[in-house]
C-alpha cells in the first residue's frame, strides 16, 4: 500500500503534548540533565565577573571577594555545584556508553571506562587544587 506521501484515508494524528518531558521518569531525568548546562554557563559568567573585577584593580577585586561571602551567593554556588556534579555523573556514563575503549584485543567494560574518567577527574581536581593553594 505505497501511497508515497499523504495517505488517502482519514487518519487520526494525536496532538503532541508540550509537557512530554514531565511525563515519565527517564524523560524528567533527561530534562534535568539538560538544565545542568545552564548552571555550568552561570559559573562561566561568574568566573568572568571574577576576572573582570580583578582587571579593575584591588578595590573592585576585594569587593568581589566580599560578595562571594554573602550567604545568598554561597547558596547559589551550592546549587551550581550539585548541578555540575549531576552533569559530571551523566556525562561520564554517556561517554562510557558510546566510546568503546580497546586494550589489545579486548573491549573494556563500561564500568571500567567510567572508573577511568573518575580517576581523570580526581587527578584534574588535584592539579587545580595544587595551583590554588601551593603553587
Amino acid at each position: 500500500m505505497s501511497t508515497g506521501g499523504r495517505p488517502r484515508y482519514p487518519v487520526y494524528v494525536p496532538e503532541y503534548p508540550r509537557s512530554w518531558w514531565l511525563e515519565t521518569g527517564p524523560y524528567r531525568r533527561f530534562a534535568a540533565r539538560e538544565i545542568t548546562s545552564m548552571f555550568a554557563a552561570a559559573f562561566s559568567g561568574l568566573l568572568l565577573l571574577f576576572l573582570f573585577a580583578l582587571s579593575r584593580g584591588r578595590e573592585a577585586y576585594e569587593g568581589f571577594l566580599r560578595w562571594l561571602k554573602l550567604p545568598g551567593v554561597v547558596a547559589l554556588f551550592a546549587v551550581i555545584l550539585v548541578a555540575v556534579l549531576y552533569h559530571m555523573a551523566t556525562w561520564f556514563r554517556l561517554t562510557a556508553h558510546i566510546q568503546r575503549v580497546r586494550v589489545g584485543r579486548t573491549v573494556l567494560p563500561e564500568g571500567a571506562v567510567v572508573a577511568g574518567l573518575v580517576a581523570a577527574w580526581i587527578m584534574a581536581s588535584g592539579i587545580v587544587l595544587y595551583f590554588y593553594i601551593w603553587f
Partner: protein
C-alpha cells in the same frame, strides 16, 4: 463494497494534523552543503561538556564554597597572588578555555531545549544564532578581559 467505497462515503475527517516543522527538506545551496557548521558546534559542545565535567566541580567548590567557609589559607585569593597567577600566559589560556567552552556546551543544549522542550519551532535559525552568538560573545569578552589583566 470495498473499504475504499466505505471511506469515500463516510463523513469521517482528519481529526487533528500536527504542524510539520518549518524548513526545506532538500538542501539546494551547494555552499551550505559544503560548509556545514553542525560538526563544529557539536565538537565545541563536546569539549565544553568535558571541561564542565572534569574541571568545574573543583573550581565551584573552591571559589564558591571553600573560600566563603574559611577553609582556605587567607593568602590563597589575595590580590597580589591572584594577579601573579593570572599573569602567567598558560594560566590565561586555561582560564579562557574554562570560561568559554562551557558556554558552547550550554548554547547547544539550550538551543535544542527551546526547540524540543519549549516547542518553539518557528525561528530555528534565529534561536541557533542567538545561542551560539552568546557563546561567541562570551568567548570574545573573556579574551578581552584576560588580555587586560
Amino acid at each position: 463494497m470495498s473499504l475504499g467505497d466505505i471511506l469515500d462515503g463516510s463523513d469521517a475527517r482528519e481529526v487533528k494534523r500536527r504542524e510539520r516543522s518549518a524548513g526545506p527538506r532538500r538542501e539546494r545551496r551547494l555552499l551550505r552543503r559544503l560548509l556545514r557548521p553542525e560538526p563544529v558546534f557539536w565538537g565545541l559542545f563536546s569539549a565544553g561538556g568535558f571541561v564542565a565535567a572534569l574541571l568545574l566541580p573543583i573550581h565551584v567548590a573552591i571559589l564558591g564554597i571553600a573560600f566563603a567557609a574559611g577553609w582556605l589559607p587567607s593568602r590563597v585569593l589575595s590580590y597580589e597572588r591572584v594577579q601573579h597567577l593570572v599573569h602567567l600566559p598558560l594560566v590565561k589560556l586555561y582560564l579562557w578555555g574554562l570560561v568559554a567552552l562551557p558556554l558552547y556546551h550550554w548554547a547547544h543544549r539550550f538551543r535544542f531545549a527551546i526547540y524540543h522542550q519549549f516547542g518553539i519551532v518557528r525561528w530555528k535559525r534565529l534561536v541557533a544564532v542567538g545561542c551560539y552568538g552568546t557563546a561567541i560573545a562570551g568567548t570574545a569578552v573573556s579574551a578581552w578581559v584576560l588580555l587586560g589583566i
